[in-house]
């Protein structure tokens, strides 16, 4: 079973890494990250700060775009092109197929993050004359966020069209990044709204947990209880999403 999983993951990786949209997004993101140098030059001596905040935000936005555009199409494309029959006619369980797809895409996203992250870190190192470990940890957290969103995108992609699932995933990304504001608003609200908003806060993915971008401006490295909690949250939430996706794919009739 592990071999089958590896074969599917490897093929998915090859398929997605050849996607032209990936290249254009990576290319454009590198351009945007490099452009932060321009913004930094007019920042009254705050260049390092501006490169960090602009560069990391650009990196996250492009990572989310890659995740949404590619992740939501993955399963749907297989069903639409009927290539899924070719795979499932072999002794391959649907769950393994689904998990393999996720792992393959996760690998592609990791490669894309590595490329964009390397450019960003090199730019930062060039400016500060030192390697920034906090920035690397922030990128690591972003990668986890992208993987979590991939699982969300694939879950939606398993039962709706790519456009619909891209919109749903995008909305969840927005909600997930508004979680701090949602909690603040809930604390100031009437009981009904308060519990509704708290429900939203706890049920929807809390992507602000993965946000180290503000801390690294002050060169703060994440603390170990924080890292443990975030990794646990990521693992539990992603596993739950993957299991739900597998269950849907298992029940689907093509």
């Amino acid at each position: 079973m592990l071999k089958t999983l590896w074969v599917i993951a490897h093929n998915t990786f090859r398929e997605t890494i050849r996607d032209r949209i990936l290249y254009s997004l990576i290319g454009f993101s590198i351009l945007v990250i490099a452009t932060s140098l321009l913004a930094a030059s007019v920042s009254l001596g705050q260049d390092i700060r501006v490169i960090q905040s602009f560069g990391l935000t650009a990196l996250l936005v492009f990572l989310l775009l890659i995740t949404i555009f590619i992740g939501t199409q993955l399963v749907f494309r297989e069903v639409e092109r009927k290539t899924i029959y070719l795979v499932l006619s072999k002794p391959v369980k649907r769950e393994v197929f689904y998990l393999g797809k996720f792992l393959g895409l996760a690998l592609t996203i990791a490669v894309a993050t590595a490329i964009m992250g390397a450019v960003f870190l090199a730019l930062l190192a060039y400016k500060t004359k030192a390697f920034s470990w906090p920035a690397l940890s922030a990128i690591g957290f972003m990668l986890m966020e992208a993987w979590l969103l991939t699982a969300i995108g694939m879950l939606f992609g398993s039962f709706t069209s790519p456009i619909a699932s891209a919109i749903y995933t995008f909305c969840l990304a927005i909600i997930g990044h508004s979680s701090t504001s949602i909690l603040t608003i809930s604390q100031k609200s009437q009981p009904f709204l308060k519990y509704t908003l708290q429900g939203v806060y706890y049920v929807f993915p809390n992507l602000e947990k993965f946000n180290l971008r503000n801390e690294i401006i002050y060169n703060l490295t994440p603390q170990s209880p924080q890292v443990t909690a975030v990794i646990l949250y990521f693992a539990a939430y992603t596993a739950a999403l993957l299991l739900a996706g597998m269950a849907i794919l298992k029940r689907d009739e093509f």
Binding site: Q46, S53, F54
Partner: protein, 285 residues
């Protein structure tokens, strides 16, 4: 023949595409020339200047989707462009609001507070500068610079030496404060020449900051005060020589006490009070 026909078409289509691009290029040049040489048909002299309209801090935080430092930096760049670009209104009406938004979004952005405390009072936002300083003291309780710079505003712009002394006392008690800060507190209580203290305060800022802009600004203040002192010395020399105060600063030049009236790097004018012989540097209101 049949095979050369499509080839010929291919050649023609390439020429057509190239030709169309060339035509586009010519049209572009003609348009630019027309725009450049023809008289302006729309009056663009009014209403082209738009002040920055920062969102309220709360809305900006909400809109940032967690990227609050990014949003703070965006407003920081906006602020710099705004302040550097000049204003036709005669006053940077949004300046205090922008400093407030930046520091609300990034409460530990020390340089923003320091710049705000140096820039805002000179632009007529004295109370807002003090409020910014107090906010900085709350958000950065270990920074001696926050009470120090606040004390400076009290001293220079409010002439409230008791509050200034209190702020310098707070600064002196914090780690990293230059030892001279304690001296300022002592001088305040001895009621020495306030301008000499101001000189010492700015000189300390100049010596301690790494921020190029703040250093530059402090250097300007130091230069300005040095000019003020040299003019005051010239008035004393004049008095010793002629037994009276000069009628104006120009008389110092006429009587060859000084070669010219220096131009303040802060853009302020030096004014002589002929009665007391005191040289002043009135602040913009």
């Amino acid at each position: 023949m049949s095979s050369s026909y499509p080839l010929a078409w291919k050649n023609i289509s390439v020429f057509v595409v190239v030709g169309l691009f060339a035509l586009g290029y010519v049209a572009q040049i003609r348009f630019d020339a027309w725009q450049f040489y023809s008289p302006s048909r729309i009056n663009t002299t009014y209403n082209v200047y738009i002040e920055p309209q920062p969102l309220s801090s709360q809305t900006a935080k909400l809109a940032s989707l967690g990227a609050t430092e990014f949003m703070a930096d965006y407003y920081w760049l906006t602020l710099i462009q705004y302040y550097g670009g000049g204003t036709p209104n005669g006053k940077y009406r949004k300046l205090a609001e922008l400093f407030n938004t930046v520091t609300d979004l990034s409460p530990k952005f020390a340089t923003a507070y320091q710049n705000g405390l140096l820039i805002l009072p000179g632009e007529g936002f004295v109370d807002q500068a003090i409020a910014l300083g107090k906010k900085g003291q709350q958000n950065l309780p270990d920074s001696w610079e926050m009470p120090y710079y606040t004390g400076l505003v009290y001293h220079i712009y409010k002439k409230d030496y008791v509050s200034a002394a209190k702020e310098f006392q707070k600064a002196a008690d914090l780690p990293g404060a230059p030892p001279i800060t304690k001296l300022f507190v002592a001088i305040y209580y001895n009621q020495a020449d306030q301008r000499q203290i101001a000189y010492g305060i700015f000189k300390t800022i100049y010596d301690t900051t790494d921020d190029t802009y703040i250093k530059d600004r402090a250097a300007k203040y130091v230069g300005h005060l040095e000019m003020l002192f040299s003019l005051q010395d010239a008035v004393t020399t004049f008095h010793q020589k002629f037994g009276r105060n000069p009628k104006s600063l120009n008389e110092l030049v006429d009587k060859k006490i000084i070669s010219e009236i220096p131009v303040s790097p802060l853009g302020r004018n030096f004014v002589l009070d002929p009665k007391s012989g005191q040289v002043n540097d009135p602040v913009k209101s």
